[in-house]
């Protein structure tokens, strides 16, 4: 299950200056109407994933779903499209007919079968009212890998229209759950950001929790109760190899990778006291980072690797703290009502997402790294465990229904809008979003 790296971006031409722009900072009351008609088959041909004509329709559907899921765009109903986009229309769209449908942006493209069995997906974005081209890019990949070409195209459009990098060509690792509350069966699972290509990684025999991707996305660290020993493990995606990172006498948990992928930070409990440690993965040597009596856990590196945010109850209740990467300079940053837990540093570095506990609820919030500017984004019985989209604009978390065992993955954007449930085959918790795929 190695992630195919064979995805080549082709520069097709320099795009013209943009006039159309989506402001993603304020929250979108009116999503931008966008048309994404089926991509044209340059020459109808067979591939291992179907004909180029079929692929063209499927690629367009994936792009429309991606853009629609952001809440910033409103893909038009394909049933309203009056004409089929031909290969010639891709580079010379019939803007008048798209204006009639009130589409403000248009994404077209083509699919070509390559002699080596692969495909090239050409991706074009236009401003319908000014008739200007906004972006174009070709993506070369294997036929089986067509969804990634579609996600890359959606990222291109998102990026061109918002000024931010995209996040659609990415994956999610999480814990799939089933069974009653008292006998929950939990399995590691991975899927694309849109739920496609879902795959279970473990069989449910052992209780597994809190998976996180390595920066290279080929390794996952997680906690497992295998052999009735709660410890930190590594899972290699390509081979399915699983290994425990260290034979510690006590529970090790809450593992996360450092931004360079060379180290883990995690908690170890000793006689009721929990501290945070760093492990160099090459030597497996561990260094203590915190030494306070109490529970220090849920560490998360800043993207530059210089700081670590974590939670501690050393002051009497669970609160968020920041320290230097060597453990020095520990200071509290959360001061709102109730407890603050599970801090996660944004990949942009500008914000920390966390879980706010109070008034019988768990809510997802964000604050700046100095603790100021706290905003709560959700409100339900229990929303827990935020994780950031690769561009730091969307937060995924899991929601537990009161009185029931049901858990589900939910996403919300930074403005607190566009709350959506991510479909999973079973119940789901502990999501972790990957960086953008290479």
């Amino acid at each position: 299950m190695r992630i195919p790296l064979l995805l080549l971006a082709l520069s097709l031409a320099a795009p013209a200056a943009a006039v159309l722009r989506v402001d993603i900072n304020t929250g979108i009351a009116q999503p931008l109407p966008i048309a994404v008609p089926a991509f044209a088959a340059t020459v109808p041909a067979a591939t291992q994933a179907g004909t180029t004509t079929d692929l063209g329709a499927r690629v367009a559907a994936v792009i429309a779903a991606d853009l629609g899921s952001s809440g910033l765009f409103r893909p038009l109903d394909p049933a309203a499209y009056t004409t089929t986009v031909t290969a010639a229309d891709v580079t010379a769209p019939q803007f008048a007919s798209w204006r009639t449908l009130a589409a403000q942006a248009l994404v077209t493209g083509n699919v070509t079968a390559n002699p080596d069995g692969g495909i090239t997906v050409g991706c074009y974005a236009y401003d319908v009212f000014s008739s200007e081209e906004l972006a174009r890019q070709g993506f070369v990949t294997t036929a089986a890998n067509w969804r990634r070409a579609a996600h890359k195209c959606a990222d291109l459009v998102y990026s061109r229209l918002t000024g931010e990098t995209g996040y659609f060509d990415s994956r999610i690792v999480y814990v799939s759950e089933t069974g009653g509350k008292t006998k929950r069966i939990k399995r590691l699972a991975v899927m694309d950001q849109d739920g496609a290509n879902h795959r279970f990684l473990t069989n449910g025999q052992n209780l597994v929790l809190t998976p996180r991707f390595a920066p290279n996305q080929q390794t996952i660290t997680y906690m497992s109760f295998a052999d009735n020993k709660p410890r930190v493990w590594l899972y290699t995606l390509g081979t399915g190899h699983q290994e425990v990172v260290g034979e510690f006498p006590n529970m090790s948990f809450a593992p996360r990778f450092s931004p360079d992928g060379n180290a883990l930070v995690f908690s170890m409990a000793t006689g009721g006291n929990t501290d945070i440690f760093r492990m160099d993965l090459a030597s497996r040597r561990i260094t203590r980072l915190t030494d306070a009596p109490g529970i220090d856990t849920a560490p998360s590196y800043a993207p530059d690797g210089a700081h670590i945010v974590f939670e501690s109850d050393r002051g009497g209740s669970q609160q968020v703290y920041v320290m230097n990467a060597d453990g020095s300079g520990q200071h509290r940053i959360s001061f709102g009502d109730g407890r603050a837990a599970t801090p996660v540093w944004s990949p942009r570095g500008d914000l920390i997402a966390f879980t706010r506990l109070g008034a019988g609820k768990f809510r997802i919030g964000v604050m700046k790294p100095d603790g100021s500017g706290e905003r709560l984004l959700t409100s339900a019985y229990q929303d827990e465990g935020p994780t950031w989209s690769p561009n730091g604009r969307v937060i995924l978390f899991f929601r537990t229904v009161q009185g029931r065992s049901n858990t589900a993955l939910m996403s919300v954007d930074l403005s607190g809008q566009n709350e959506r449930r991510l479909k999973t085959p079973l119940d789901a918790s502990d999501p972790a979003w990957s960086p953008l795929l290479p």
Partner: protein, 184 residues
């Protein structure tokens, strides 16, 4: 590292014991469990044609897991919200567990610490560890060799009660003494 860990364990144990003893002296050991006399009542109506009750074979095998639970009153002690304090009820149960364990020195146990659902996942793993260790330290202070006592935390992953209400939460905030070897 080991020294520090040992120190921390010791300090935690001392703190736990100190906290407990400050509050209230340890309860006196309970009287030896005598089999309740089941003699037929001789008072009152002697002519009620009632056969004398006979003890049915419910007695547990001494030294068995069932005997441990019956003698201690419970294998489980409960905690307050976000607390790992051993309260009076828990003290009574753990005191009896310690006595029983003193009687059967070959028995080894694992204390499982658990939390209710009102904490985040990783914090609750640490909280369950605190609870298991609070119970372990109490047994240790009662003279049970701590080498006989392992601990494990399940956080909020293994509740016994399914609800999302105080009654369910109260049952789920617990430390369970599980015999893992040496019982009859």
């Amino acid at each position: 590292m080991l020294n520090r860990a040992a120190q921390l364990t010791l300090i935690a144990a001392l703190l736990a014991t100190a906290a407990c003893s400050k509050k209230k002296p340890l309860p006196p050991p309970p009287p030896p469990a005598a089999a309740p006399a089941m003699a037929p009542s001789s008072s009152g109506n002697t002519d009620t044609a009632m056969a004398a009750p006979v003890a049915v074979g419910t007695a547990n095998i001494p030294g068995s897991v069932a005997d441990f639970k019956a003698t201690s009153g419970s294998d489980t002690v409960l905690f307050g919200y976000d607390s790992y304090e051993i309260d009076d009820t828990a003290r009574g149960i753990l005191g009896k567990q310690a006595e029983w364990l003193a009687r059967y020195p070959g028995v080894k146990v694992t204390i499982e610490g658990h939390a209710d659902e009102r904490g985040t996942r990783e914090y609750n793993l640490a909280l369950g560890d605190r609870r298991a260790n609070a119970a372990k330290n109490f047994l240790g202070a009662q003279g049970v060799a701590t080498a006989r006592i392992a601990t494990i935390s399940y956080g909020k992953e293994r509740p016994v009660a399914e609800g999302s209400d105080e009654a369910a939460w109260a049952q789920n905030r617990r430390a369970v003494t599980v015999i893992i070897g040496g019982a009859r």
